[in-house]
Protein backbone atom coordinates (compact mmCIF):
# COMPACT_ATOMS: atom_id res chain seq x y z
CA UNK A 1 0.00 0.00 0.00
CA UNK A 2 1.12 3.54 -0.74
CA UNK A 3 1.70 6.51 1.51
CA UNK A 4 -1.94 7.58 1.31
CA UNK A 5 -5.02 5.54 0.65
CA UNK A 6 -8.70 6.30 0.52
CA UNK A 7 -10.58 3.08 1.13
CA UNK A 8 -14.15 2.85 -0.09
CA UNK A 9 -14.78 6.41 0.94
CA UNK A 10 -18.43 7.42 1.02
CA UNK A 11 -19.91 10.83 1.85
CA UNK A 12 -23.25 12.46 1.05
CA UNK A 13 -24.54 16.01 1.37
CA UNK A 14 -28.31 15.74 1.55
CA UNK A 15 -29.22 14.10 -1.73
CA UNK A 16 -25.83 14.59 -3.35
CA UNK A 17 -23.41 11.71 -3.19
CA UNK A 18 -20.12 13.60 -3.13
CA UNK A 19 -17.96 10.49 -2.73
CA UNK A 20 -19.39 7.16 -3.76
CA UNK A 21 -17.17 4.25 -2.76
CA UNK A 22 -13.99 6.00 -3.86
CA UNK A 23 -10.70 4.21 -3.41
CA UNK A 24 -7.39 5.80 -4.16
CA UNK A 25 -3.80 4.79 -3.56
CA UNK A 26 -0.90 7.21 -3.79
CA UNK A 27 2.53 5.59 -3.85
CA UNK A 28 5.30 7.32 -1.93
CA UNK A 29 7.46 9.64 -4.02
CA UNK A 30 4.98 9.92 -6.89
CA UNK A 31 2.70 12.58 -8.28
CA UNK A 32 -0.91 11.47 -8.45
CA UNK A 33 -3.39 13.47 -10.48
CA UNK A 34 -7.04 13.67 -9.42
CA UNK A 35 -9.29 15.10 -12.09
CA UNK A 36 -12.94 15.31 -12.97
CA UNK A 37 -15.58 17.80 -14.06
CA UNK A 38 -16.90 20.49 -11.71
CA UNK A 39 -18.62 19.03 -8.68
CA UNK A 40 -17.02 15.61 -9.17
CA UNK A 41 -15.90 15.44 -5.53
CA UNK A 42 -12.20 16.36 -5.79
CA UNK A 43 -12.16 19.08 -3.16
CA UNK A 44 -14.40 16.92 -1.01
CA UNK A 45 -11.76 14.19 -1.17
CA UNK A 46 -9.17 16.71 0.09
CA UNK A 47 -11.47 17.80 2.88
CA UNK A 48 -11.95 14.19 3.87
CA UNK A 49 -8.21 13.54 3.91
CA UNK A 50 -7.54 16.64 6.03
CA UNK A 51 -10.41 15.67 8.33
CA UNK A 52 -12.61 18.69 7.69
CA UNK A 53 -15.32 16.29 6.60
CA UNK A 54 -16.15 13.04 8.30
CA UNK A 55 -16.70 9.96 6.16
CA UNK A 56 -19.93 8.01 6.45
CA UNK A 57 -18.08 4.85 5.70
CA UNK A 58 -14.66 3.86 4.49
CA UNK A 59 -11.34 5.11 5.75
CA UNK A 60 -8.37 7.34 5.11
CA UNK A 61 -5.05 5.67 5.75
CA UNK A 62 -1.80 7.63 5.90
CA UNK A 63 1.50 5.84 6.30
CA UNK A 64 -0.31 2.79 7.63
CA UNK A 65 -2.37 4.71 10.20
CA UNK A 66 -6.08 5.37 9.97
CA UNK A 67 -6.96 9.04 10.28
CA UNK A 68 -10.45 8.21 11.48
CA UNK A 69 -9.84 9.73 14.92
CA UNK A 70 -7.30 12.39 14.02
CA UNK A 71 -8.38 16.02 14.61
CA UNK A 72 -7.68 18.45 11.73
CA UNK A 73 -4.97 20.27 13.66
CA UNK A 74 -3.00 17.02 13.98
CA UNK A 75 -3.16 16.10 10.33
CA UNK A 76 -0.42 18.56 9.42
CA UNK A 77 1.81 17.27 12.22
CA UNK A 78 1.51 13.80 10.72
CA UNK A 79 2.98 15.19 7.53
CA UNK A 80 0.05 16.18 5.34
CA UNK A 81 -0.14 19.75 4.06
CA UNK A 82 -2.56 21.26 1.58
CA UNK A 83 -3.46 24.30 -0.43
CA UNK A 84 -6.99 25.50 -1.11
CA UNK A 85 -8.88 26.03 -4.31
CA UNK A 86 -10.10 29.46 -3.19
CA UNK A 87 -7.07 30.40 -1.09
CA UNK A 88 -7.45 30.43 2.67
CA UNK A 89 -4.76 32.79 3.85
CA UNK A 90 -4.65 35.10 6.85
CA UNK A 91 -5.39 38.35 5.01
CA UNK A 92 -4.13 40.93 7.48
CA UNK A 93 -0.89 39.09 8.14
CA UNK A 94 2.18 39.68 6.02
CA UNK A 95 3.25 37.11 3.46
CA UNK A 96 6.11 36.05 5.74
CA UNK A 97 3.82 35.67 8.75
CA UNK A 98 1.45 33.51 6.73
CA UNK A 99 4.31 31.18 5.95
CA UNK A 100 5.54 31.29 9.56
CA UNK A 101 2.19 30.01 10.78
CA UNK A 102 2.72 27.03 8.50
CA UNK A 103 6.15 26.39 10.01
CA UNK A 104 5.01 26.62 13.57
CA UNK A 105 3.07 23.43 13.65
CA UNK A 106 6.09 21.53 12.57
CA UNK A 107 8.99 23.13 14.37
CA UNK A 108 7.98 23.29 17.98
CA UNK A 109 11.50 23.35 19.31
CA UNK A 110 12.99 25.71 16.79
CA UNK A 111 14.02 29.22 17.63
CA UNK A 112 12.13 32.16 16.20
CA UNK A 113 15.09 33.33 14.13
CA UNK A 114 15.55 29.90 12.56
CA UNK A 115 11.87 29.73 11.71
CA UNK A 116 12.09 33.12 10.04
CA UNK A 117 15.05 32.03 7.99
CA UNK A 118 13.28 28.83 6.97
CA UNK A 119 10.19 30.80 6.00
CA UNK A 120 12.23 33.23 3.90
CA UNK A 121 13.97 30.33 2.19
CA UNK A 122 10.61 28.78 1.40
CA UNK A 123 9.37 32.07 -0.03
CA UNK A 124 12.47 32.24 -2.18
CA UNK A 125 11.82 28.70 -3.36
CA UNK A 126 8.38 29.67 -4.67
CA UNK A 127 9.78 32.93 -6.01
CA UNK A 128 7.95 35.57 -3.98
CA UNK A 129 10.50 36.55 -1.32
CA UNK A 130 10.33 40.16 -2.51
CA UNK A 131 6.78 40.38 -1.17
CA UNK A 132 7.71 38.98 2.27
CA UNK A 133 6.71 42.00 4.32
CA UNK A 134 3.57 42.98 2.44
CA UNK A 135 0.14 42.10 3.76
CA UNK A 136 -1.32 39.13 1.92
CA UNK A 137 -4.61 40.89 1.18
CA UNK A 138 -4.54 42.70 -2.12
CA UNK A 139 -1.83 40.68 -3.85
CA UNK A 140 -2.73 39.04 -7.19
CA UNK A 141 -4.39 35.62 -7.09
CA UNK A 142 -1.37 33.87 -8.59
CA UNK A 143 0.83 35.27 -5.83
CA UNK A 144 -1.68 34.24 -3.17
CA UNK A 145 -1.56 30.71 -4.56
CA UNK A 146 2.20 30.74 -4.17
CA UNK A 147 1.97 31.99 -0.59
CA UNK A 148 -0.30 29.08 0.17
CA UNK A 149 2.14 26.73 -1.46
CA UNK A 150 4.95 28.20 0.64
CA UNK A 151 2.85 27.92 3.78
CA UNK A 152 2.16 24.27 3.03
CA UNK A 153 5.83 23.56 2.32
CA UNK A 154 6.89 25.33 5.51
CA UNK A 155 5.33 22.55 7.55
CA UNK A 156 7.81 20.14 5.89
CA UNK A 157 5.16 17.67 4.80
CA UNK A 158 5.61 14.21 3.34
CA UNK A 159 2.37 14.47 1.42
CA UNK A 160 1.28 17.63 -0.34
CA UNK A 161 -2.32 18.12 -1.50
CA UNK A 162 -2.63 20.78 -4.19
CA UNK A 163 -6.13 21.99 -5.08
CA UNK A 164 -5.98 23.72 -8.47
CA UNK A 165 -2.53 25.30 -8.04
CA UNK A 166 -2.61 26.65 -11.62
CA UNK A 167 -5.62 28.89 -10.92
CA UNK A 168 -4.81 32.47 -11.88
CA UNK A 169 -1.56 31.59 -13.65
CA UNK A 170 -0.75 32.45 -17.25
CA UNK A 171 0.51 29.97 -19.83
CA UNK A 172 4.18 30.51 -19.08
CA UNK A 173 3.65 30.30 -15.34
CA UNK A 174 1.81 27.00 -15.72
CA UNK A 175 4.92 25.62 -17.43
CA UNK A 176 7.07 26.81 -14.52
CA UNK A 177 4.61 25.26 -12.08
CA UNK A 178 4.94 21.89 -13.82
CA UNK A 179 8.71 22.00 -13.42
CA UNK A 180 8.31 23.12 -9.82
CA UNK A 181 5.97 20.28 -8.89
CA UNK A 182 8.38 17.77 -10.41
CA UNK A 183 11.23 19.32 -8.44
CA UNK A 184 9.23 18.94 -5.24
CA UNK A 185 8.94 15.24 -5.98
CA UNK A 186 12.50 14.69 -7.14
CA UNK A 187 14.47 17.01 -4.86
CA UNK A 188 12.35 17.22 -1.72
CA UNK A 189 11.11 13.64 -2.10
CA UNK A 190 7.50 14.75 -1.62
CA UNK A 191 4.47 12.74 -2.51
CA UNK A 192 1.90 14.89 -4.27
CA UNK A 193 -1.80 14.60 -4.89
CA UNK A 194 -2.76 17.13 -7.52
CA UNK A 195 -6.26 18.37 -8.35
CA UNK A 196 -6.29 20.47 -11.47
CA UNK A 197 -8.51 21.43 -14.37
CA UNK A 198 -5.53 22.29 -16.48
CA UNK A 199 -5.25 18.99 -18.35
CA UNK A 200 -1.87 19.60 -19.95
CA UNK A 201 -0.36 20.16 -16.54
CA UNK A 202 -1.90 17.05 -15.00
CA UNK A 203 -1.00 14.80 -17.91
CA UNK A 204 2.53 16.19 -18.04
CA UNK A 205 3.51 15.72 -14.41
CA UNK A 206 1.40 12.88 -13.05
CA UNK A 207 2.71 9.37 -12.60
CA UNK A 208 -0.83 8.15 -12.11
CA UNK A 209 -4.23 9.73 -12.75
CA UNK A 210 -7.60 9.04 -11.15
CA UNK A 211 -10.77 10.45 -12.71
CA UNK A 212 -13.88 11.16 -10.67
CA UNK A 213 -17.33 11.94 -12.00
CA UNK A 214 -20.34 12.51 -9.75
CA UNK A 215 -18.38 11.11 -6.81
CA UNK A 216 -17.43 7.88 -8.57
CA UNK A 217 -14.08 6.70 -9.88
CA UNK A 218 -14.54 6.29 -13.63
CA UNK A 219 -10.92 5.67 -14.57
CA UNK A 220 -7.54 5.18 -12.97
CA UNK A 221 -4.15 4.52 -14.52
CA UNK A 222 -1.15 6.08 -16.27
CA UNK A 223 -1.94 9.45 -17.93
CA UNK A 224 -1.68 8.16 -21.50
CA UNK A 225 -4.16 5.40 -20.79
CA UNK A 226 -6.64 7.57 -18.92
CA UNK A 227 -6.58 10.14 -21.72
CA UNK A 228 -7.87 7.53 -24.17
CA UNK A 229 -10.54 6.12 -21.88
CA UNK A 230 -13.95 6.52 -23.57
CA UNK A 231 -15.73 7.11 -20.23
CA UNK A 232 -13.34 9.94 -19.45
CA UNK A 233 -13.78 11.50 -22.85
CA UNK A 234 -17.52 11.22 -22.40
CA UNK A 235 -17.39 12.87 -18.95
CA UNK A 236 -15.58 15.87 -20.34
CA UNK A 237 -18.30 17.25 -22.62
CA UNK A 238 -17.46 17.37 -26.27
CA UNK A 239 -14.90 14.66 -25.74
CA UNK A 240 -11.81 16.81 -25.77
CA UNK A 241 -9.24 16.78 -23.03
CA UNK A 242 -8.09 20.32 -23.59
CA UNK A 243 -8.00 22.89 -20.85
CA UNK A 244 -11.11 25.03 -20.71
CA UNK A 245 -9.16 28.29 -20.93
Amino acid sequence: MGLLALENARLRFGGIVALDDVSLDVAEGTIAGLIGPNGAGKTTAFNVITRLYRLESGDVVFDGHSLRHTPPSRVVRMGIARTFQNVELFPTMTVLENVLVGGHAFARMKRESELRKDALDTLELVGIHMHADRPAAGLPFGTLKRIELARALASKPRLLLLDEPAGGLNHEEVGELADFIRRLRDELKLTILLVEHHMNLVMQVSDHVTVLNFGRTIASGPPAEVQRDPQVIEAYLGGELEPVA
Binding site: T50, L52, P71, P72, S73, R74, V75, V76, R77, A81, R82, F84, N86, V87, E88, L89, F90, P91, T92, M93, E97, L100, V101, G102, H104, A105, F106, E112, L115, A136, A137, L144, R151, S155
Partner: protein
Protein backbone atom coordinates in the same frame (compact mmCIF):
# COMPACT_ATOMS: atom_id res chain seq x y z
CA UNK B 1 -21.30 69.82 -17.42
CA UNK B 2 -23.07 67.97 -14.68
CA UNK B 3 -21.60 67.68 -11.23
CA UNK B 4 -21.29 63.94 -11.59
CA UNK B 5 -18.69 64.20 -14.29
CA UNK B 6 -16.50 66.67 -12.46
CA UNK B 7 -16.41 64.56 -9.35
CA UNK B 8 -13.12 62.82 -8.82
CA UNK B 9 -13.06 59.08 -9.32
CA UNK B 10 -12.68 57.33 -5.94
CA UNK B 11 -9.63 55.43 -7.11
CA UNK B 12 -7.91 58.63 -8.21
CA UNK B 13 -8.74 60.25 -4.95
CA UNK B 14 -7.26 57.31 -3.11
CA UNK B 15 -4.08 57.60 -5.16
CA UNK B 16 -3.84 61.31 -4.52
CA UNK B 17 -4.30 60.79 -0.78
CA UNK B 18 -1.81 57.93 -0.79
CA UNK B 19 0.73 60.26 -2.38
CA UNK B 20 0.54 62.39 0.77
CA UNK B 21 1.91 59.42 2.71
CA UNK B 22 0.47 58.40 6.06
CA UNK B 23 -0.89 61.92 6.47
CA UNK B 24 -3.25 61.29 3.59
CA UNK B 25 -5.46 58.94 5.56
CA UNK B 26 -8.42 60.74 7.16
CA UNK B 27 -7.81 58.93 10.47
CA UNK B 28 -4.31 60.30 10.71
CA UNK B 29 -5.48 63.79 9.82
CA UNK B 30 -7.99 63.62 12.65
CA UNK B 31 -5.34 62.34 15.05
CA UNK B 32 -2.77 64.95 14.10
CA UNK B 33 -5.46 67.62 14.37
CA UNK B 34 -6.44 66.40 17.82
CA UNK B 35 -2.81 66.29 18.95
CA UNK B 36 -2.15 69.84 17.75
CA UNK B 37 -5.33 71.04 19.43
CA UNK B 38 -4.32 69.42 22.73
CA UNK B 39 -0.78 70.74 22.52
CA UNK B 40 -1.89 74.32 21.93
CA UNK B 41 -4.50 73.97 24.66
CA UNK B 42 -2.01 72.62 27.19
CA UNK B 43 0.53 75.32 26.42
CA UNK B 44 -1.97 78.14 26.71
CA UNK B 45 -3.95 77.06 29.77
CA UNK B 46 -2.95 75.31 32.96
CA UNK B 47 -6.46 74.11 33.63
CA UNK B 48 -6.64 72.66 30.15
CA UNK B 49 -3.34 70.85 30.71
CA UNK B 50 -4.57 69.61 34.07
CA UNK B 51 -7.73 68.12 32.58
CA UNK B 52 -5.79 66.62 29.71
CA UNK B 53 -3.47 64.71 32.05
CA UNK B 54 -6.35 63.46 34.18
CA UNK B 55 -8.23 62.52 31.01
CA UNK B 56 -5.21 60.70 29.67
CA UNK B 57 -4.98 58.56 32.79
CA UNK B 58 -8.69 57.78 32.72
CA UNK B 59 -8.48 57.16 29.00
CA UNK B 60 -5.67 54.67 29.59
CA UNK B 61 -8.04 52.68 31.81
CA UNK B 62 -10.87 52.88 29.27
CA UNK B 63 -8.41 51.93 26.54
CA UNK B 64 -7.15 48.83 28.37
CA UNK B 65 -10.64 47.56 28.94
CA UNK B 66 -11.60 48.44 25.37
CA UNK B 67 -8.58 46.49 24.17
CA UNK B 68 -9.77 43.51 26.19
CA UNK B 69 -13.16 43.81 24.45
CA UNK B 70 -11.47 43.97 21.06
CA UNK B 71 -9.32 40.91 21.74
CA UNK B 72 -12.41 38.91 22.54
CA UNK B 73 -14.39 40.38 19.68
CA UNK B 74 -11.70 39.34 17.22
CA UNK B 75 -11.43 35.83 18.62
CA UNK B 76 -15.05 35.03 19.44
CA UNK B 77 -16.95 37.66 17.40
CA UNK B 78 -19.00 38.83 20.35
CA UNK B 79 -18.82 41.75 22.71
CA UNK B 80 -18.15 40.39 26.17
CA UNK B 81 -20.62 42.19 28.41
CA UNK B 82 -19.01 40.56 31.45
CA UNK B 83 -15.57 42.07 30.77
CA UNK B 84 -16.02 44.85 33.33
CA UNK B 85 -17.38 42.54 35.99
CA UNK B 86 -14.54 40.08 35.40
CA UNK B 87 -12.17 42.98 36.03
CA UNK B 88 -14.15 43.94 39.11
CA UNK B 89 -13.86 40.39 40.46
CA UNK B 90 -10.10 40.31 39.98
CA UNK B 91 -9.82 43.67 41.75
CA UNK B 92 -11.58 42.09 44.73
CA UNK B 93 -9.07 39.27 44.57
CA UNK B 94 -6.31 41.89 44.85
CA UNK B 95 -8.23 43.48 47.73
CA UNK B 96 -8.36 40.13 49.51
CA UNK B 97 -4.64 39.58 48.97
CA UNK B 98 -3.50 43.01 50.12
CA UNK B 99 -5.96 43.87 52.87
CA UNK B 100 -6.89 40.54 54.39
CA UNK B 101 -3.77 38.52 53.72
CA UNK B 102 -1.27 41.39 53.87
CA UNK B 103 0.54 40.62 50.65
CA UNK B 104 2.51 43.65 49.44
CA UNK B 105 0.79 45.60 46.68
CA UNK B 106 2.98 44.74 43.72
CA UNK B 107 3.22 41.08 44.59
CA UNK B 108 -0.56 41.05 44.91
CA UNK B 109 -0.72 42.86 41.54
CA UNK B 110 1.32 40.12 39.88
CA UNK B 111 -0.65 37.35 41.57
CA UNK B 112 -3.90 38.99 40.54
CA UNK B 113 -2.85 39.10 36.89
CA UNK B 114 -1.97 35.42 37.09
CA UNK B 115 -5.30 34.58 38.67
CA UNK B 116 -7.08 36.74 36.09
CA UNK B 117 -5.38 34.77 33.31
CA UNK B 118 -6.53 31.44 34.70
CA UNK B 119 -9.97 32.89 35.42
CA UNK B 120 -10.35 34.19 31.85
CA UNK B 121 -9.37 30.85 30.38
CA UNK B 122 -11.72 29.10 32.76
CA UNK B 123 -14.62 31.32 31.71
CA UNK B 124 -13.97 30.50 28.08
CA UNK B 125 -13.69 26.76 28.75
CA UNK B 126 -16.69 26.41 31.04
CA UNK B 127 -19.16 29.00 29.77
CA UNK B 128 -18.25 30.10 26.26
CA UNK B 129 -16.93 27.02 24.50
CA UNK B 130 -20.11 24.96 24.92
CA UNK B 131 -22.24 27.62 23.19
CA UNK B 132 -19.63 29.09 20.86
CA UNK B 133 -20.80 27.23 17.78
CA UNK B 134 -24.50 27.59 18.37
CA UNK B 135 -25.13 31.28 17.71
CA UNK B 136 -23.75 34.71 18.41
CA UNK B 137 -26.79 35.66 20.42
CA UNK B 138 -26.33 32.61 22.65
CA UNK B 139 -22.79 33.70 23.46
CA UNK B 140 -23.94 37.25 24.15
CA UNK B 141 -26.61 35.98 26.52
CA UNK B 142 -24.03 33.86 28.30
CA UNK B 143 -21.83 36.93 28.81
CA UNK B 144 -24.80 38.87 30.19
CA UNK B 145 -25.50 35.93 32.49
CA UNK B 146 -21.87 35.99 33.60
CA UNK B 147 -22.23 39.69 34.39
CA UNK B 148 -25.06 38.92 36.78
CA UNK B 149 -23.39 35.84 38.19
CA UNK B 150 -20.11 37.58 39.01
CA UNK B 151 -21.95 40.56 40.44
CA UNK B 152 -23.95 38.28 42.72
CA UNK B 153 -21.01 36.18 43.83
CA UNK B 154 -18.83 39.20 44.64
CA UNK B 155 -21.65 40.84 46.59
CA UNK B 156 -22.20 37.62 48.48
CA UNK B 157 -18.54 37.03 49.32
CA UNK B 158 -17.34 40.58 49.98
CA UNK B 159 -20.54 42.55 50.58
CA UNK B 160 -21.68 45.68 48.80
CA UNK B 161 -20.05 48.19 51.14
CA UNK B 162 -17.16 50.37 50.03
CA UNK B 163 -13.70 48.86 50.51
CA UNK B 164 -10.31 50.52 50.58
CA UNK B 165 -7.03 49.24 49.26
CA UNK B 166 -3.44 50.44 49.60
CA UNK B 167 -2.50 53.10 47.03
CA UNK B 168 0.13 51.64 44.68
CA UNK B 169 1.72 54.98 43.83
CA UNK B 170 1.03 56.88 47.04
CA UNK B 171 -0.79 60.16 47.14
CA UNK B 172 1.99 62.43 45.95
CA UNK B 173 1.05 65.25 43.62
CA UNK B 174 3.71 66.89 41.46
CA UNK B 175 3.50 70.50 40.34
CA UNK B 176 4.87 71.08 36.90
CA UNK B 177 4.62 74.72 35.82
CA UNK B 178 1.47 75.25 37.81
CA UNK B 179 -0.14 72.02 36.64
CA UNK B 180 -0.86 69.52 39.39
CA UNK B 181 -0.16 65.97 38.29
CA UNK B 182 -0.99 63.06 40.57
CA UNK B 183 1.66 60.37 40.81
CA UNK B 184 -1.19 57.88 40.50
CA UNK B 185 -2.12 59.26 37.08
CA UNK B 186 1.44 58.93 35.82
CA UNK B 187 1.55 55.43 37.27
CA UNK B 188 -1.68 54.47 35.52
CA UNK B 189 -0.37 55.70 32.18
CA UNK B 190 2.96 53.89 32.58
CA UNK B 191 1.38 50.62 33.72
CA UNK B 192 -0.98 50.74 30.74
CA UNK B 193 1.86 51.43 28.32
CA UNK B 194 3.87 48.56 29.81
CA UNK B 195 1.05 46.02 29.68
CA UNK B 196 -0.02 46.97 26.19
CA UNK B 197 3.60 46.92 25.03
CA UNK B 198 4.13 43.43 26.42
CA UNK B 199 0.94 42.26 24.82
CA UNK B 200 2.00 43.73 21.49
CA UNK B 201 5.32 41.90 21.70
CA UNK B 202 3.51 38.68 22.49
CA UNK B 203 1.23 39.01 19.48
CA UNK B 204 3.77 40.30 16.98
CA UNK B 205 6.99 38.62 17.99
CA UNK B 206 6.19 35.16 19.30
CA UNK B 207 5.01 31.89 17.85
CA UNK B 208 2.19 31.78 20.33
CA UNK B 209 0.99 35.25 19.33
CA UNK B 210 1.09 34.33 15.66
CA UNK B 211 -0.94 31.21 16.39
CA UNK B 212 -3.48 33.26 18.32
CA UNK B 213 -3.82 35.75 15.49
CA UNK B 214 -4.23 32.93 12.99
CA UNK B 215 -6.89 31.26 15.14
CA UNK B 216 -8.84 34.50 15.48
CA UNK B 217 -8.60 35.41 11.79
CA UNK B 218 -9.43 32.11 10.09
CA UNK B 219 -10.14 29.28 12.52
CA UNK B 220 -10.64 26.63 9.84
CA UNK B 221 -7.45 27.24 7.93
CA UNK B 222 -5.55 27.81 11.16
CA UNK B 223 -6.59 24.32 12.24
CA UNK B 224 -5.36 22.90 8.98
CA UNK B 225 -1.94 24.44 9.33
CA UNK B 226 -1.74 22.86 12.74
CA UNK B 227 -2.81 25.64 15.11
CA UNK B 228 -4.72 24.28 18.11
CA UNK B 229 -7.53 26.77 17.73
CA UNK B 230 -9.49 25.97 20.90
CA UNK B 231 -6.40 26.38 23.01
CA UNK B 232 -5.62 29.71 21.34
CA UNK B 233 -9.14 31.04 21.95
CA UNK B 234 -8.90 30.14 25.64
CA UNK B 235 -5.53 31.90 25.84
CA UNK B 236 -7.12 34.95 24.20
CA UNK B 237 -9.79 35.08 26.88
CA UNK B 238 -7.10 34.70 29.52
CA UNK B 239 -5.12 37.62 28.13
CA UNK B 240 -8.22 39.78 27.85
CA UNK B 241 -8.97 39.07 31.50
CA UNK B 242 -5.41 40.11 32.39
CA UNK B 243 -5.85 43.43 30.57
CA UNK B 244 -9.18 43.89 32.30
CA UNK B 245 -7.50 43.18 35.64
CA UNK B 246 -4.93 45.90 34.93
CA UNK B 247 -7.75 48.30 34.08
CA UNK B 248 -9.65 47.36 37.24
CA UNK B 249 -6.62 47.76 39.51
CA UNK B 250 -5.71 51.13 38.02
CA UNK B 251 -9.31 52.34 38.14
CA UNK B 252 -9.56 51.34 41.80
CA UNK B 253 -6.30 53.14 42.56
CA UNK B 254 -7.54 56.36 40.93
CA UNK B 255 -10.89 56.22 42.68
CA UNK B 256 -9.36 55.17 46.02
CA UNK B 257 -12.31 52.89 46.69
CA UNK B 258 -13.84 49.62 45.66
CA UNK B 259 -17.48 48.66 45.19
CA UNK B 260 -19.11 45.84 43.22
CA UNK B 261 -20.49 48.33 40.69
CA UNK B 262 -17.29 50.32 40.16
CA UNK B 263 -16.44 48.89 36.73
CA UNK B 264 -19.89 49.35 35.21
CA UNK B 265 -19.49 52.94 34.00
CA UNK B 266 -15.95 52.11 32.88
CA UNK B 267 -17.26 49.25 30.77
CA UNK B 268 -19.59 51.68 29.03
CA UNK B 269 -16.75 54.11 28.35
CA UNK B 270 -14.75 51.17 27.06
CA UNK B 271 -17.62 50.24 24.72
CA UNK B 272 -17.67 53.77 23.39
CA UNK B 273 -13.88 53.69 23.01
CA UNK B 274 -13.91 50.35 21.18
CA UNK B 275 -16.66 51.49 18.82
CA UNK B 276 -14.91 54.80 18.19
CA UNK B 277 -11.67 53.01 17.35
CA UNK B 278 -13.35 50.26 15.35
CA UNK B 279 -14.26 47.04 17.14
CA UNK B 280 -11.69 45.06 15.16
CA UNK B 281 -8.77 47.36 15.87
CA UNK B 282 -6.51 47.06 18.95
CA UNK B 283 -4.81 50.40 18.20
CA UNK B 284 -8.24 51.91 17.70
CA UNK B 285 -9.38 50.73 21.13
CA UNK B 286 -6.47 52.43 22.84
CA UNK B 287 -6.71 55.63 20.84
CA UNK B 288 -10.47 55.61 21.31
CA UNK B 289 -10.05 55.18 25.07
CA UNK B 290 -7.62 58.06 25.37
CA UNK B 291 -9.73 60.31 23.15
CA UNK B 292 -12.86 59.63 25.17
CA UNK B 293 -11.04 60.12 28.47
CA UNK B 294 -9.63 63.49 27.45
CA UNK B 295 -12.77 64.61 25.61
CA UNK B 296 -15.03 63.97 28.59
CA UNK B 297 -12.73 65.77 31.01
CA UNK B 298 -12.37 68.83 28.80
CA UNK B 299 -16.11 68.84 28.25
CA UNK B 300 -16.70 68.69 32.00
CA UNK B 301 -14.34 71.60 32.48
CA UNK B 302 -15.51 73.94 29.77
CA UNK B 303 -19.15 73.11 29.10
CA UNK B 304 -21.07 74.05 32.19
CA UNK B 305 -24.04 71.72 31.77
CA UNK B 306 -21.81 68.62 31.41
CA UNK B 307 -21.76 67.61 35.05
CA UNK B 308 -20.61 64.24 36.31
CA UNK B 309 -24.19 63.00 36.02
CA UNK B 310 -24.30 63.58 32.31
CA UNK B 311 -20.81 62.22 31.54
CA UNK B 312 -22.03 58.72 30.85
CA UNK B 313 -24.83 59.74 28.48
CA UNK B 314 -22.24 61.79 26.62
CA UNK B 315 -20.08 58.73 26.10
CA UNK B 316 -23.17 57.09 24.66
CA UNK B 317 -23.69 60.02 22.37
CA UNK B 318 -20.19 59.43 21.01
CA UNK B 319 -21.04 55.77 20.52
CA UNK B 320 -24.24 56.50 18.63
CA UNK B 321 -22.72 59.23 16.48
CA UNK B 322 -19.86 56.93 15.47
CA UNK B 323 -22.26 54.10 14.66
CA UNK B 324 -24.30 56.44 12.49
CA UNK B 325 -21.46 58.19 10.66
CA UNK B 326 -18.79 55.50 10.41
CA UNK B 327 -19.88 52.13 11.79
CA UNK B 328 -16.41 50.68 11.28
CA UNK B 329 -14.86 53.30 13.59
CA UNK B 330 -11.72 55.33 13.07
CA UNK B 331 -9.39 52.41 12.43
CA UNK B 332 -11.84 49.75 11.33
CA UNK B 333 -11.72 48.28 7.87
CA UNK B 334 -14.61 46.87 5.96
CA UNK B 335 -14.63 43.14 6.31
CA UNK B 336 -13.04 41.37 3.39
CA UNK B 337 -14.18 37.83 3.71
CA UNK B 338 -12.78 36.21 0.61
CA UNK B 339 -9.23 37.08 -0.27
Amino acid sequence: MSAVQTREHPALRRDRLAALGPLGKPVNLILVGAAVFLLIGCLSSQIFAQQTVVGLAQGAVYGSLALALVLIYRATEVVNFAQGEMAMFTTYVAYQLTTSWHVTYWLAFALTLLIAFVFGMGVQLVFIRPVQHTSVIAVVIVTVGLFILIDGVVGWVWGADIKFMPAPFGNTVYHVGGVAIARQDIGTILVTIASVGLLWLLFQRTKLGLGMRAAALRPASARLVGVRVDRMLALGWGLAAVLGAVAGLMAEASEYSLQPSFMQPILLYAFAAAVLGGLESPVGALVGGVMIGIFLNLLGQYVSFVTSEIRLPFAFLVLIVVLLIKPTGLFGKKKVRKV
